[in-house]
Symmetry: C2
Subunit: 328 residues, 2 copies
């Protein structure tokens, strides 16, 4: 592990990240839907990070870390543990630079995410689905490979990279009253806070979390990090806990954390597929679910939602009989 | 019916349409995927007309017709028959102008498309799913309502409107070697020919059609319009035949028509959902299916595909057991 882990990234780090990654990530489009505006009473904007090549916003932080390595570090490559999208995105960035990438993934991760990692040349070591098991396996893998550890979210390079998303979002929308994003480990939310606290301090940052993995919500209430081991939710990207660096941003800059039930998440996912006509994963539907159930907070406002990812197993859709949401 | 039906629209008509509809349709984004480029060997660009508010390119032609009506005509509204997307799009345009819209739809049209028409205030009269039944029912409805007939494709206003799509496409991509689009009645293909024959005459226009509804393919081979009554294909937007006006453009400007099987269409639809992460309907997957099966024609070229629509019944996906493609 790096001893720089509590280096708080700055706005200038985000600007530098944006230059560094410009050739390696997409400036994703913003989708709107009159119908979703009618349903929510808000003016909704959806930043389509599911349109990054590897299908998630984590392409940004991963590219910033990989392309910021010096030549000696780059030769040994990178290594990480991830519930899926960070693994794909780090593999993708490493492939673009031509360096090795080792990833530890829970064996329960969706097959679509494992396939994507493999396609980008990432080497997968599987582990049990708890946070503790994942971190223990990682220590072993990293010792064997010597890859530079790029944490999925608790890394200043990663947070600075994720912050580039809301910089684009503000340019593309001419400003927003609220930016909402899902919160798992808090990497995207932290990057959003990093950028907006300087660029648009009047814009609220709101986080959205599954009821069944509401550790960030309870942390913000308690005033300290509460970490659950292996929570169960269809929003598979949001099972990991906050860490010191993301807690710094969440505790200082997040206005509020809302939560939604599994049923609300699935219904919002289907609604977004139907009316935005984009493929987004369950984690990315949590903010819309929270906006729909809290009209008093959002109605009449310009609300930006970061659609964090779109890697879904199309053979196991949660609203289809036999799909993954069926027994919940 | 109008006696102006054989008025061939001009490039200037397309330019005027683009100005007329600018406030009422979206300049849709273009999606790319490194992975689909690898699979096809081409440089692929996907123009996302599924992102129009009513979910299809037909928003363009419909808006051009509706907003081009004089006040007296507008008071009596518009009327049409359509397998679905034209009905939704005409209803949407009429709603925006605040005028009545009557539509004749086959009772077999997907529920999602009927719902959309109703949501936009269109009044639906159902008919049997054959072309002859549809046209007979329409004559009655139009006589009763006096609405201005906006044919789904064989109308110069509609073709000029659809032509605005490839004008944007060329601007957004800095030029293409090929533009491919699905062909049913030929409205989008005709608009594409109209625009590109002036704007980019070196760009090939290629049409894509289901094997099971290959009347345009056979027409181009024969040199005259061959119309099938009620062909069966999962690509429900492509069941209608060419008419005189669209035949003019197809016979004069289309380089080639390729066809694909039902299985190839479904596989390409799923591939696009997975890698473009957009929701597109079966009709819109036909061009990708044709590119994948004819690499000799497309490899090494800059290929633009018009993603014509995204209105899908999410409870009946063709690759899911019990879905609509299951018994084919």
């Amino acid at each position: 592990m790096k001893d720089t882990i509590m280096d708080i990234p700055t706005y200038d780090d985000m600007l530098a990240a944006h230059d560094r990654i410009a050739l390696h990530v997409r400036r994703t489009p913003v989708r709107v839907s009159d119908h979703l505006n009618d349903l929510t009473g808000a003016q909704m904007f959806f930043k389509c990070e599911n349109f990054q090549e590897p299908g998630a916003f984590k392409a940004r932080g991963a590219a910033n870390a990989v392309f910021g390595l010096d030549a000696a570090q780059a030769e040994r490559g990178v290594a990480t543990h991830s519930s899926g999208n960070h693994a794909s995105c780090l593999s993708y960035a490493a492939m673009r630079r031509g360096i090795p990438c080792n990833v530890v993934m829970p064996h329960t991760a969706p097959q679509a995410k494992k396939d994507t990692v493999a396609r980008y040349g990432g080497k997968i070591t599987e582990c049990d689905p708890s946070t503790t098991a994942r971190e223990a396996t990682f220590v072993r893998v990293q010792a064997e490979t010597g890859g530079d550890f790029v944490h999925p979210y608790n890394d200043p390079r990663v947070i600075a990279g994720q912050g580039t998303c809301s910089r684009e979002f503000m340019e593309q929308t001419d400003g927003l009253d609220v930016v909402a994003a899902p919160i798992g480990g808090g990497g995207m939310i932290s990057g959003t806070c990093l950028t907006l606290s300087t660029l648009a301090p009047e814009t609220q940052v709101i986080a959205a979390e599954p009821d069944q993995a509401d550790d960030a919500y309870r942390s913000l209430q308690a005033g300290y990090i509460i970490a659950d081991d292996a929570p169960e939710t269809i929003a598979d990207g949001l099972k990991v806990p906050l860490k010191d660096l993301t807690w710094h941003f969440v505790s200082n800059h997040v206005s509020e954390i809302f939560t939604a039930s599994e049923q609300e998440i699935v219904a919002s996912m289907k609604l977004a597929w139907k009316h935005l006509r984009i493929v987004l994963e369950p984690s990315s539907a949590v903010p819309l679910a929270c906006v729909l159930k809290n009209p008093g907070t959002f109605a009449g406002k310009r609300v930006g939602i970061i659609v964090t990812g779109g890697n879904v197993d199309l053979d196991r859709l949660p609203w289809v009989q036999g799909g993954q949401g069926d027994d919940r």
